[in-house]
Amino acid sequence: MNEFLIDLSADNSLVWALFVLGVVAASALALSVVTGLLLRLGEAVGSRLGRRRASGK
């Protein structure tokens, strides 16, 4: 993978620039979805535990 990144950046600057933009944008979108889901899951688990504690189970 390291070889690929070095070669691509050296061979074609325009393709490399578009590749960088694409990687950053795609990673940001994917991470946004994943962390959003994780946060929602955490909140759901937290509220369920809180309700359980409140009802004394």
Binding site: L5, I6, L21, A28, S32, L39, A54
Partner: protein, 352 residues
């Protein structure tokens, strides 16, 4: 860990830490955090041009994440952001030309840093002054600023013709409304001109521009603080993409480093963005003033370090910036926890 494009070995834990700080502050203040990232990467030993290029790519990524999160909270005025982009994108190009002239004259570094210090110190001082003035009791409205009268006058400005002809659209009215920002009537030329000014300064300073735009929207257009934060971030996606593309063309971006920091920044972004829901707008503005002043101090130290050739001052500048940034993240986290605990106390339990 070795990063092939920058050809440098950096401890990944440090990059993760920097990513969390940048993501949190970006989501909370509506800034890209370019000045923080570049400073941090330089301290970690990343070559200067790679630090700027990789920083811009991270700015673009975190702004995208933060904008999406703010969008879900209804904090982004896309219409206003697009109008400002009409002005900012061409002026970014103009600023690049000016920068080239300055570089040819051999004064680019000094001019940029002096401009940066002046701008950050004036902005930070003004924000803290506004906080003090509003807090003194002249206003009782949480989102009100001391420049509300000026903002109203700017919104009422009638600039240019009332109608223009656009290919494909025909005759188009130049007066519009911005429902998300709560503006009933505004000439489209007002945000375009403001956008051009922001784009020019951002281009000269090599930043995304949100640190100029967000306070401008709050204090000069009277836009609610959280909407200004969301819209500022949207603007940074555009300016950050242009900057990333230009630096990537010359091969000065390390995508592996960006993705690693972006993963950490996405976690911080969730915290920072969520915090804007529970922290008072006046407190967000106050903390913003503090971090802007810390940024001014760091750049001033950097300038002295360059002028007097004292390397240790340059490292100290980045440490100050990262220290203040880190402390700010801890404060944001503490405010979130406090708000959650308060919510839990107020929430009715099943036994009630």
């Amino acid at each position: 860990m070795w990063f092939p494009n920058a050809d440098v070995t950096v401890n990944p834990a440090l990059l993760v830490l920097l990513g969390i700080i940048v993501g949190t502050l970006g989501g909370f203040f509506g800034v890209g955090g370019g000045f923080l990232i570049t400073g941090g990467l330089l301290v970690f030993g990343v070559p200067p041009l790679f630090a700027v290029g990789t920083g811009l790519a991270l700015v673009m990524g975190t702004s995208l994440i933060n904008t999406l999160k703010h969008r879900s909270l209804g904090n982004v005025d896309f219409k206003l952001g697009m109008m400002m982009a009409v002005g900012s994108v061409p002026s970014l190009y103009g600023a690049q030309q000016v920068n080239q002239q300055l570089e040819e004259a051999g004064v680019a570094g000094t001019v940029i840093r002096v401009l940066y210090v002046c701008f950050l110190v004036i902005l930070g001082t003004f924000i803290l002054y506004d906080h003090w003035r509003v807090g003194r009791g002249e206003s009782h409205f949480e989102d009100e600023v001391s420049t509300a009268g000026l903002a109203q006058r700017i919104l009422r400005l009638n600039i240019g013709p009332r109608f223009i002809w656009l290919p494909g659209f025909g005759k188009v009215q130049t007066v519009t409304s911005l429902p998300v920002s709560g503006v009933e009537r505004i000439s489209v030329f007002v945000p375009i001109i403001l956008g051009a000014g922001v784009g020019f300064f951002a281009g000269i300073l090599g930043a995304g521009g949100a640190f100029i735009l967000t306070p401008l929207l709050i204090y000069f257009m009277g836009i609610p603080t959280v909407v200004a934060i969301g819209t500022g971030l949207f603007q940074v996606i555009i300016t950050g993409s242009v900057g990333t593309f230009l630096y990537a063309l010359s091969g000065r971006v390390d995508p592996l480093m960006v993705v690693l920091m972006l993963a950490a920044a996405s976690l911080g972004a969730q915290l920072g963005t969520s915090a804007t829901r529970v922290v008072k707008p006046s407190r967000i503005r106050f903390l913003y003033g503090v971090i802007v002043l810390a940024g001014g101090l760091a750049v001033a130290m950097e300038e002295v370090s360059q002028a007097a050739d004292v390397d240790v001052l340059s490292t100290l500048a980045s440490v100050v910036l990262l220290g203040v940034g880190g402390a700010m993240c801890l404060m944001i986290g503490a405010m979130m926890i406090k708000a959650k605990l308060k919510d839990r106390e107020l929430a009715p339990t099943e036994s009630d």
